[in-house]
């Protein structure tokens, strides 16, 4: 008969009190007491133009700027999604119409219901990680007047704010094919930022065509 010697063993901790479980609980507690959340955290950003300065830069100084908020219904969003080939969500967007002191241009649109020279839209389009805020100004004939980057949040690719890149959009219309590496030269190493601004201009043109020119 074999007699197995019982070896002395330390009393074991309950399984729920294992080192890994303690660690996970501790980390969860620490996370819950901090400002860290599951959403994208705030990041240092470079503000090149604040809203008032951006609108003045693209619309001119000696003009009256009249903002009008336009609702985007579910039907509008679907129509715009089909037009742009990307998802547009319902909501609203503000159009900043400019009127010069000696208003001579008669707009050919029912919206906004007064004569205007140009309209500006402030766009947010995601680059690689964060949105690039930029303003697009469109003339009453539907051509792009100016584009300026207002806020840049990425660590690389800020060259998209330079006029040598942005002037590729000048005088473009909604009928022009705006695509990076086709008709728009992107910035090396910052293709996504290049697309971000390109998509913003495309969306601004599409919104203006749809809501202002009804076409």
């Amino acid at each position: 008969m074999n007699v197995l010697r019982k070896q002395k063993t330390m009393p074991s901790l309950p399984q729920w009190l294992s080192a890994s479980n303690v660690c996970y609980t501790l980390i969860a507690f620490l996370l819950s007491t901090t400002g860290v959340s599951a959403t994208t955290p705030a990041v240092a950003e470079t503000v090149y133009l604040k809203k008032e300065a951006a609108l003045t830069a693209v619309l001119g100084e000696a003009v009256t700027i009249r903002p009008i908020e336009q609702e985007i219904s579910t039907a509008d969003a679907q129509a715009l999604s089909n037009r742009l080939g990307r998802k547009i969500s319902p909501g609203s967007h503000t159009f900043y119409f400019s009127q010069s002191p000696a208003q001579t241009v008669t707009s050919q649109s029912n919206f906004p219901g007064f004569n205007w020279d140009a309209v500006a839209l402030i766009m947010d389009e995601v680059g690689k990680y964060y949105p690039i805020t930029h303003v697009v100004a469109i003339r009453s004939d539907g051509t792009v007047k100016d584009v300026r980057v207002m806020v840049y949040r990425e660590s690389i690719g800020h060259q998209v704010r330079k006029k040598r890149f942005l002037k590729q959009f000048f005088n473009k219309t909604s009928r022009d094919n705006l695509q990076v590496d086709r008709t728009i030269h992107g910035i090396t190493g910052a293709t996504m930022s290049s697309w971000s601004v390109t998509e913003g201009v495309r969306r601004a043109l599409a919104y203006t065509d749809y809501f202002v020119f009804n076409r």
């Binding site: 980390i27 690689k128 660590s155 330079k162 040598r164 990076v180």
Partner: protein, 367 residues
């Protein structure tokens, strides 16, 4: 490998890091710091082998701690980071780790482990940025990518007018190091084996490296790169590299290329050079629209590419390494940061043809 021990150790480490910070600092975790990276997985088929390769997993850390101060790092894990006694085919290394202090757009101080700003491939070496799987052979032996070093200097850019722009990088670094018993200059490896470590210079002389790029418009840039530094342990022998690069966009077509020549004092090899030229065509066929390749993606793209390159690792004679390399292929990007690549690579050796042509496929993703 005891995975329980590893996960437990990792868990303890994270908890310790969080406990070690003040309450105020804990609320700032994540506020300024972005974590991302990229990885690639490859398949190589040659006359003698077919293999998958878990080539790279890279972590990027970037922290904009102030509008004028940032920190960036790139940590690479190659081939599963296998660096143990049973399998040492992997590698873990820091490819970049530096701080930037911005004076203005034209003058930004940079110090730490910096990328040597030679040419295009070394500066833009991320797998997802590159349209091909393999880098040009030039980037293996002549400008040995990835080439980084410890040092400091400045970089910046300036607009010369509305269209013309200039950019530059210039650093003082430890320099390439040939140490007997470790890496040496050879016709088999070019100057690849004399890339430096990060602990100490092997001589009393620092090296200087710079690139200046001039761009008359967003569609074209021409760059000149220059390196000079003593490489030998005794501080007697200098190595100089002069390189040229260009990028030119014509609508959906991109043309790019590099050439560099290396002059070496006091070595059996006194000169080597290499080059490549690459053409890319971006497109998306209409008949593929409304298929799974297009569905849900804003701007999916195919890119057809062709590249010719060559190296001469000893211009005084013809060696087994001297060759031309031809690569043709196609890739598909559903989104810009994700790319599926397929290419055929032909190696044409000048001395003895070797059966080393390859079919190569890979996927690369940045996140």
């Amino acid at each position: 490998m005891n995975y329980k021990n590893i996960s437990g150790a990792f868990c303890l480490t994270v908890a310790a890091l969080m406990l070690s910070t003040s309450v105020e600092a804990r609320t700032d975790i994540g506020k300024h710091t972005k974590v991302g990276g990229y990885f690639d997985t490859e398949w190589h088929s040659t006359e003698s082998s077919n293999t998958f390769k878990a080539h790279r997993f890279i972590m990027h850390l970037n922290s904009q701690i102030h509008e004028r101060i940032s920190v960036a790092a790139e940590i690479e894990y190659e081939y599963g980071a296998a660096i143990n006694a049973l399998d040492d085919t992997g590698e873990i290394k820091i490819e970049q780790a530096y701080m930037d202090y911005k004076i203005n757009d034209a003058a930004i101080f940079r110090g730490g482990i910096v990328l040597s700003p030679m040419g295009l491939v070394n500066r833009y070496h991320d797998s997802d940025m590159r349209d091909t799987t393999n880098r040009p052979i030039f980037a293996k032996y002549i400008i040995p990518t990835t080439w980084m070093d410890t040092g400091l200097g400045f970089h910046g850019e300036a607009d010369l007018n509305e269209d013309w722009a200039l950019n530059y990088e210039a650093y003082i670094i430890n320099g390439l190091q040939e140490t007997v018993g470790t890496g040496i200059i050879s016709d088999a490896n070019g100057i690849r084996k004399i890339r430096p470590g990060f602990k100490a210079d092997n001589n009393k002389d620092s090296a200087f490296v710079t690139r200046v790029g001039i761009s008359p418009g967003v569609d074209f840039e021409f760059g000149t790169s220059y390196y000079t530094g003593v490489y030998s342990d005794d501080g007697a022998d200098n190595l100089t590299i002069l390189g040229f690069d260009f990028q030119y966009d014509i609508g959906a077509i991109e043309l790019l290329g590099e050439y560099a020549t290396v002059d070496i004092e006091g070595a059996a090899i006194s000169e080597m050079n290499g080059y490549y030229i690459e053409a890319r065509q971006h497109f998306f066929p209409d008949f593929l629209k409304n298929t799974f390749l297009d569905d849900g993606f804003d701007h999916p793209t195919f890119t057809a590419f062709a590249r010719i390159g060559g190296v001469d690792t000893d211009t005084s004679t013809t060696t087994a390494q001297d060759r031309h390399q031809y690569t043709v292929g196609l890739n598909y990007r559903p989104i810009e940061s994700t790319v599926f690549k397929f290419e055929y690579e032909i190696n044409s050796e000048r001395v003895t043809e070797t059966e080393n042509d390859a079919i190569i496929a890979s996927v690369a993703v940045s996140f």
